[in-house]
């Protein structure tokens, strides 16, 4: 550490570096909103790629349609995949409504001083849609998994 200037030392790893605030226990509401937005975004894009691949099966000439039907019957209707569908729906609702909050803030400056209230209002709306959608799909899922 001797014979080096402060600037030279600072460009490399500095043993005094400390990141006390990166632990989740210190995260505030906005940080969680942002993190979940990122995570749900990654889940949705992964799902999107799989979904595109799956539906593209049907467009293969010849046996494509049969393969797609088989895939849909065996994988798509499996109770576990149906359960994952509920998770995808939750992610979509969160990402969509939180994205709406960001759009409102970035384009019109609405709710920048009350972003938590805006978040809870939007999440409440999303929650109602979630319950309604679940009310519609859950009986089918339960019926299929019992059958």
């Amino acid at each position: 550490m001797e014979n080096t200037t402060r600037e030279e030392r600072f460009t490399e790893f500095w043993p005094g570096d400390q990141y006390a605030d990166v632990w989740p226990k210190h995260y505030k509401a906005g940080m969680w909103m942002w993190l979940f937005h990122r995570i749900t975004g990654l889940i949705i894009i992964t799902y999107g790629i799989i979904h595109l691949g799956e539906t593209a099966l049907a467009s293969i000439p010849g046996t494509g349609e049969d393969v797609f039907n088989w895939f849909y019957r065996v994988v798509g209707l499996h109770p576990f995949i149906q359960f994952l569908d509920i998770i995808i729906m939750t992610c979509l609702l969160y990402h969509g409504f939180n994205g709406l909050r960001i759009v409102l803030m970035d384009f019109w400056g609405i709710g920048t001083r009350k972003h938590k209230l805006l978040f809870y209002v939007l999440m409440g709306t999303g929650g109602i849609i979630w319950v309604l959608a679940l009310n519609h799909t859950l009986p089918y899922i339960i019926h299929r998994s019992l059958w």
């Binding site: 550490m1 600072f10 005094g16 400390q18 605030d21 990166v22 940080m31 942002w34």
Partner: protein, 241 residues
Amino acid sequence: MLQDIEVLFKIRRFDPDVDTMSRFESFPVQVKGMMTVLDGLLQVFEEQDSTLSFRFACREGVCGSCAMFINGSYRLACQTQIRELKTPEISVNPLPHLKVIKDLVVDLDPFFNKIEQVMPYLETLTAPPETEQVQTQAERKLINEVIDCILCGSCYSACPVVWFNKEYLGPAALTKAYRFVADSRDGLSPERLNQVSHEDGIWRCHTVFNCVEACPKNIQPADAIEKLRKKTISRRLKFWK
């Protein structure tokens, strides 16, 4: 009369000439009356270990020298009552994500360099008047909040975008830019907006609102950045209001 209590100060120490890693050192502090964390640090400095380094000047929340990461929050040591923290142990860290010079003293050069980039001074286009430059109450109200910034560096240290992107101007510099853009006396608003509207300026903000949570003066830098964005958009797209 308040009962005297004893709390344990867990202070993160780092001496660049001796240490190879930063470490915590504990000091018992006798709390008499309403003592602030800064008073506690001064007590440690005077009675137990005079090698402890920390910055302070005004002791009343005006200079912004004593911003630290105390008990998991960004606080000014001089504005934090030990009794209000209500914990027998108080952890005192220097501001995270800034280079530690020694103990609780961090290198604020990158922070102040970015403040300089946004031209933090009033620039009038006309010659200065004989008396003062008059502002109406409504005009003053626009900058009432952002003018309170004491340049403590808490928001800069708390911003997760700054953690990963050292080029980002950061909430403090952008709030400072907004302070002059919104000022009715300032004549450089278009230049200022041009200066901050690049990918490492206002558009890099992810609206995490950590700066709002961190600010010890209750300024809302995220709000100022959003207002800058709105001004830039309506200036570039004439039809957008």
